[in-house]
C-alpha cells in the first residue's frame, strides 16, 4: 500500500513539473520582424528619418526619434522634409531612409502603417511610417495614443515586430493591444535591437523583465542605409503591373495555373512576381 502511495506521489510530481513547464509565466520572446534588418558594415549606423509631418506632430516625431536614438546600435537623426499635403499623402519611400508622414488617409481601419522595402530577402533598403489623422486628429485619441502609434510605426522601420501578440501590456509602444497607452519603447525593445544588430551578442540571450531574445546579429558587406546603396534605376518604384516587366519565369505549377517570375536588377536586387492566372 505504501509503495502504491509513493508511486502515486511520484506520478503527481511528474505531472506537476510537466504542467509548470507547459504553462510558464508570461514571457515575451524574440520580437524581430522576420529576419529583416538594415544592412551595415559597422555599428552604430545612422538612419535618417525624413520629417514630412505637420507642426502638430513635430513633438511626437522628435520624441520617437529621441527614444529610438537611445539604442546603442543606431543613430537616428531627423532630416527636414516637405510637409505639403501631396507629399504627406503619398509618403513616397526614399532609398536608405525612413520617411515619416501624417495625413488624412481615410477611415480605412488603421491608425498607423509602417512599410519596409527588402533587397536580398532580408535587407531593409527604405521604409515609410504613416500616421492617420482621419482618426488620430479626433478628440477620441489622446496625446499618449498618438505618441504610442508613431513610436511603434518607426520601431517597425528598424525590423521590430510587436513585442507580444496576446494583447498583454508590457509597457512598450511595441505592444500589440488596443490600449495605446505606452508612448515609449522599453528595455526589451533595446535588447531586441542588440539581438538583431550587434554581432557581439550573437548567440547571447538578453533578458529584461518579461522580454528575452537571443542574438543573431552580424555585419554585412554593404550599407543599405546610405542613399548611395547600389539600388539600380527603376528598382524601388518598378512598374510590375505589366507582364513584360516581370522578367524570367523561374517556376510554374504542374497545371500551369501559377508561376514565379524574377526580374534581376543585379547585386542581389530581385523582384519576385507571384502570379496566379485567372481562368
Amino acid at each position: 500500500m505504501r509503495n502504491k502511495t509513493s508511486t502515486f506521489r511520484l506520478m503527481f510530481m511528474l505531472v506537476l513539473i510537466l504542467a509548470l513547464t507547459a504553462f510558464p509565466t508570461s514571457v515575451s520572446a524574440n520580437h524581430a520582424w522576420g529576419s529583416y534588418h538594415w544592412a551595415r558594415t559597422s555599428n552604430p549606423f545612422t538612419i535618417k528619418v525624413i520629417d514630412s509631418v505637420t507642426s502638430n506632430w513635430d513633438d511626437n516625431l522628435n520624441t520617437a526619434i529621441s527614444d529610438w536614438n537611445a539604442s546603442t546600435v543606431m543613430n537616428v537623426v531627423k532630416e527636414a522634409g516637405d510637409d505639403s499635403q501631396n507629399v504627406r499623402k503619398r509618403c513616397r519611400a526614399v532609398s536608405g531612409k525612413a520617411h515619416a508622414c501624417n495625413a488624412n488617409y481615410g477611415f480605412n481601419g488603421w491608425l498607423g502603417l509602417a512599410t519596409i522595402w527588402i533587397t536580398g530577402g532580408v535587407h531593409i533598403t527604405q521604409a515609410t511610417t504613416k500616421v492617420n489623422d482621419s482618426y488620430l486628429a479626433s478628440s477620441s485619441y489622446t496625446e499618449t495614443n498618438r505618441q504610442h502609434v508613431i513610436c511603434q510605426e518607426i520601431g517597425h522601420d528598424w525590423g521590430l515586430d510587436h513585442q507580444d501578440e496576446s494583447g498583454a501590456d508590457f509597457n512598450t509602444c511595441m505592444d500589440y493591444s488596443n490600449a495605446l497607452d505606452n508612448p515609449h519603447p522599453n528595455a526589451g525593445d533595446y535588447d531586441q535591437l542588440l539581438c538583431i544588430y550587434d554581432p557581439s551578442k550573437f548567440g547571447v540571450t538578453l533578458t529584461h523583465g518579461n522580454h528575452s531574445c537571443t542574438g543573431t546579429g552580424h555585419l554585412d558587406s554593404f550599407n543599405s542605409w546610405t542613399s548611395s546603396v547600389p539600388m539600380p534605376a527603376g528598382f524601388a518604384n518598378a512598374d510590375v503591373h505589366a507582364q513584360e516587366n516581370w522578367g524570367t519565369k523561374v517556376r510554374e505549377s504542374a497545371n500551369g495555373r501559377s508561376a514565379i517570375f524574377v526580374r534581376d536588377f543585379g547585386n542581389g536586387n530581385l523582384i519576385y512576381t507571384f502570379v496566379f492566372w485567372a481562368k
Binding site: 502511495t5 510537466l18 529583416y36 481601419g109 488596443n178 514565379i260 519576385y272
Partner: protein
C-alpha cells in the same frame, strides 16, 4: 483500485497537457519574401470548417445575398483602397457595422493575398499595421473580409456564413 484510477487520470491529464504544448507552438512571424522550395500549390489548404461554412458565399455578391438572407440589414457604402492589398475594396455596412470586402479575380489570387496576412493580423507582407480596433480576417473563395471590432453578433454572423477567421485577434 482507487490508486490505479488516479494513475490513469493523471496519465490522461499528462497527455492533455502535452497536446496543449503542441498546439501553442504556432509561429506568428511572417515569412520573408523568398522563392518557395516546394512546388507551388494551386489551392492553399483551407482552414475553414465545412460544418459551419456556407457554400453559397463565393464572391461579394453572394456574400451580400447571404447576409440579407440571414436577416441582416445590408448597405453598400464607399470603396476603399488599402496599401497592402492589390485590389480595391468595398465597404459593406451590416447592421450599421462596417466590413471591408476585397474581391479577387480568382480563388488563387485571393489565397495569394491572404497568405501575406500574419496569423495575428498585425502585418500584411512587409507592412505593419496599427489597427483602430481588433482585426478579424475572413476568406471565402474569391473574397477577403476584414472586420475591425468585437461585436459578438457580427462575429457570429461571419462565422456562420463564412467560417472561422483565418487571421486576427
Amino acid at each position: 483500485m482507487k490508486i490505479h484510477i488516479r494513475l490513469a487520470l493523471l496519465i490522461i491529464f499528462a497527455f492533455i497537457v502535452i497536446g496543449c504544448v503542441g498546439n501553442s507552438a504556432s509561429n506568428s512571424t511572417p515569412t520573408p519574401l523568398t522563392v518557395p522550395t516546394e512546388p507551388l500549390a494551386t489551392e492553399a489548404p483551407s482552414t475553414e470548417s465545412p460544418a459551419t461554412k456556407s457554400p453559397a458565399v463565393e464572391d461579394k455578391e453572394s456574400f451580400v445575398s447571404a447576409l440579407e438572407a440571414s436577416g441582416a440589414t445590408v448597405e453598400t457604402a464607399d470603396t476603399i483602397t488599402q496599401d497592402f492589398f492589390s485590389v480595391e475594396g468595398q465597404i459593406i455596412r451590416v447592421n450599421g457595422v462596417d466590413l471591408q470586402v476585397f474581391e479577387y479575380e480568382s480563388p488563387e489570387a485571393m489565397e495569394n493575398e491572404a497568405s501575406q496576412v500574419a496569423p495575428d493580423g498585425g502585418s500584411i507582407g512587409t507592412s505593419m499595421v496599427t489597427w483602430m480596433d481588433a482585426p478579424h480576417f475572413y476568406k471565402a473563395r474569391r473574397i477577403i473580409v476584414l472586420y475591425l471590432g468585437d461585436d459578438e453578433t457580427i462575429l457570429d454572423l461571419l462565422n456562420k456564413l463564412i467560417g472561422p477567421q483565418f487571421a486576427g485577434r
